[in-house]
Symmetry: C2
Subunit: 187 residues, 2 copies
DNA sequence: GAAAAGATTTACCGATCTGTAAACCTTGGA
DNA sequence: TCCAAGGTTTACAGATCGGTAAATCTTTTC
């Protein structure tokens, strides 16, 4: 049980969950894809739910890290970064493997508000909102919470719409709206 | 096999699919909930997929009917109706049984773009977009397609955000943004 | 009222689901 | 070299998955 073995299992499982969904992915499939045996899998994770939670945690970390660092590459002012977030979304939508937001999907498959998987997905969205609020505040927006909430609305809308349209256009549309909101909040 | 029996089965199945999800709902559960036998179920629907498609079709019909008629109750000008759509969303979010958009969830559980369930969900979104485009055109918007696309972004964003926040606030936020877009498109 | 036709039920199939018990390596220490 | 510890495998359990064959019940038709 090397310490990095568990991480490796989580990493691979995350890919499969994202590609095929949670209920549609059985532990047997994961066992085949990871090349490990079933019992070994259950030594690392007591239940499938625990594995899903670990996968969500990893996704939360890597997504935020990639998202934030890419935003910072594209712009160096808070206001510019708020707008740049939509450019990063556009890059994401263009990826071949884009299949929407894992947390939206997790929240959809586990809908009860008190379910651990649902709660952890909601937490991720809250953290993202907090980040946007911070940016809005540092940008000098009149009402940072409000602006951030509306920016997030646009982001979620773009993420969902891009799935059905199979296009990255929603990101550009959302960006244009965000620009209007930003101008008005800074005026 | 009364002609209305099939509709009854679809109606009840739709409820369960919406509440529990598609993969998480087995045919056995539906058989229990509808009080009909398994073979009877499979006489009406050759496969589970066919039942899901029927449920989505019913939801598409009833949702659009309810949505549009409620909008028309609330406003009588195209511009007013575009805004009123967010008030209708707010009412929807307030319902105890609100669990997000069935088509977003269907698209999330069946992600392959050529899957019938995914395609039918995408179709619903396209029809809704066409409706918004029509409203925007009749409202005299400068670029109806653009405005409609952005209004839809806001709607999808509100629908998703309302699930995690368990609040109807996103509808009001989205409405405020839509107001800005509308003013600018009509100026 | 009998028989054909159609709808419904019971009982089951093989596959797959999450999860586990017991045997089987593999490795580190004395 | 032997043994203990612990990770890994095979093999399987019990439940549930989507789906069906054959028997039973209900209705229609003559």
């Amino acid at each position: 049980m090397r310490p990095n073995k568990r991480d490796e299992l989580v990493r691979k499982s995350l890919q499969v969950f994202y590609r095929d969904g949670f209920h549609a992915t059985g532990m047997d499939k994961l066992v085949v894809e990871t090349g490990v045996s079933k019992t070994s899998m259950y030594k690392h994770f007591r239940t499938k739910e625990e594995l899903i939670l670990a996968a969500l945690r990893l996704r939360d970390e890597t997504f935020r890290e990639d998202f934030l660092s890419r935003i910072q590459e594209l712009a160096d002012t808070p206001a510019g970064q708020l707008l740049a977030s939509f450019d990063v979304l556009r890059e994401w939508f263009q990826q071949e493997e884009y299949r929407g937001c894992l947390f939206i999907k997790a929240g959809a498959e586990y809908q009860e508000g008190d379910h651990p998987i649902h709660k952890q997905s909601a937490e991720h969205k809250q953290i993202m909102l907090d980040y946007l609020t911070d940016l809005a505040r540092r940008a000098g927006a009149r009402d940072p919470e409000h602006l951030a909430c509306r920016i997030q609305l646009l982001q979620e809308g773009a993420i969902v719409t891009a799935v059905f349209l199979k296009s990255c256009e929603p990101a550009q549309e959302a960006r244009a709206v965000a620009q209007v909101l930003l101008d008005s909040a800074l005026a």
